[in-house]
Symmetry: C2
Subunit: 277 residues, 2 copies
């Protein structure tokens, strides 16, 4: 488990320096200080490595954002907090941002394309949720346009973090973009992305979390878990899925146990979706 992480981190460095195709397995193992054979004990192929990396690096990004969006109840500050968390992440993980937001070689590999598209869709959902909470019925059909503007702001300003390391005032940036978002939300009159267009652009079909997929995810993580509270929480949640017993409060509590540790953010996120919490 630790070996996998080591490989993923060193691989990320190399990918962000040279690109995916231009980086050989040999180079990765050299930087890790391990043999080529050892690499293939952790990952079956080079492609499997990159798929794991997408999960490893994007899951945290998605869940962090979602947590801010759903955890900030103050309408005055939620937009600012949203942008702050986004750009803080870009700042802290500029290498992975360089790799996954720019190197779209990945888009030519179908499995990865769907994976990345799915994560992007999750991000879109979080943003839409935020907009719905913030503006409720004021926006109506305009909310998809506002979402696209927000994504555009992210992409445009993220460059500042990805391609240079100058010190930037995150607070000021977040305030500036929050204001711009609010202005657009209030004054826009000409929509482009209308409701009838939405089904076409939200490519990955809106799928709910399937019971089997979730059970499998939990099962996997029980084996890798040693911490007692987390392990117990996962086991209880697993039982709850197979045989519903407890009320919402207990379930939410168990999920919150997991949310405390970044390593379990993704499980918490997916499980909460399953239980509609």
């Amino acid at each position: 488990m630790l070996k996998k992480q080591l490989i993923m981190e060193k691989a990320l460095e190399l990918f962000s320096e040279q690109g995916f195709e231009a980086t050989s397995v040999q180079q990765i193992t050299e930087r890790c200080g391990i043999s080529k054979g050892a690499f293939y004990l952790s990952f079956k192929t080079k492609d499997e490595l990159v798929i794991s990396m997408v999960d490893y690096y994007l899951q945290q990004f998605i869940t962090d954002v979602d947590q801010v969006v759903r955890g900030t109840y103050n309408k005055e500050t939620v937009l600012v907090e949203f942008y702050k968390s986004i750009f803080q992440a870009f700042k802290d993980h500029s290498a992975s941002a360089r790799v996954f937001f720019n190197e779209k070689v990945f888009l030519t590999k179908k499995e990865l394309f769907h994976k990345i598209t799915a994560y992007e869709a999750e991000m879109s959902k979080s943003i839409l949720y935020m907009l719905e909470q913030l503006y409720q019925d004021q926006l109506k059909e305009m909310k998809y346009d506002v979402m696209y503007c927000i994504k555009g702001f992210m992409k445009s300003y993220a460059e500042l973090f990805i391609f240079s390391d100058m010190p930037l005032d995150l607070e000021q940036l977040a305030k500036s973009l929050a204001e711009k978002t609010d202005i657009i939300a209030h004054h826009t009159t000409i929509p482009f992305i209308t409701a009838d267009l939405v089904p076409f652009i939200a490519k990955p079909c809106e799928e709910d979390v399937s019971k089997d997929a979730l059970l499998q995810l939990l099962e996997q993580n029980i084996n890798h878990t040693e911490d007692s509270i987390e392990k117990e929480s996962i086991e209880l949640l697993k039982q709850e899925i197979e045989n519903p017993t407890y009320g919402k409060a207990i379930i939410k509590g168990l999920i919150e146990n997991l949310r405390l540790d970044p390593a379990y953010h993704w499980i918490a996120y997916v499980t909460a979706k399953y239980f509609n919490i």
Copy 2:
């Protein structure tokens, strides 16, 4: 010269399908119906091909936008026309957009990184020029932020053209984004990209067109040119640079001769810059 174009076009197809590193010279020559040796008669290396492609495809994009920006005197419509030309280009050349705006492997090759950065800077200049004409002193230090928003809109909505081929109402999109831009320009109060930040983000130093570089560019093109009017225009402009004789009107006329043919857009653009026209 025609062979070069053939190779660049087929290579673009393959790059947009598979990515740059994943495409072999062999595959390119097979799709062209030529031998491997013939490829190396046109380009010294695979890298030289991609450098030529960046010039070939981005020059036209940049000059098209600049022409719209500087050629539309109606303040009411310039923003709409700007967006229309941008997205029309994305629509017509979605393959090259996929390659050059997404596959940033190129960013790991230093020469290409500087080239692409330089073209992006040209685009920024055109946008800033448009904003200065439109809002003059109203914007002041806010203009850089508005430029970043425009670029964000472009990046965000371009996806619709790059990753799908559904029919989209360009007119409606342009109107929608023009309104958003105008709203931001009028209501924003919190800037982020302040004047003192600008020197740091505009990485490539603001360089004027150098006399020698321009002479070399013209020289190169004389050899590849057969059309009489264009060839004569280029030769006269070359003489004019070395030995100024004519007035602005004649110079502008000669440049306009070149602008009529897309193949000479870039020369026209650069020469106009040199003569401050």
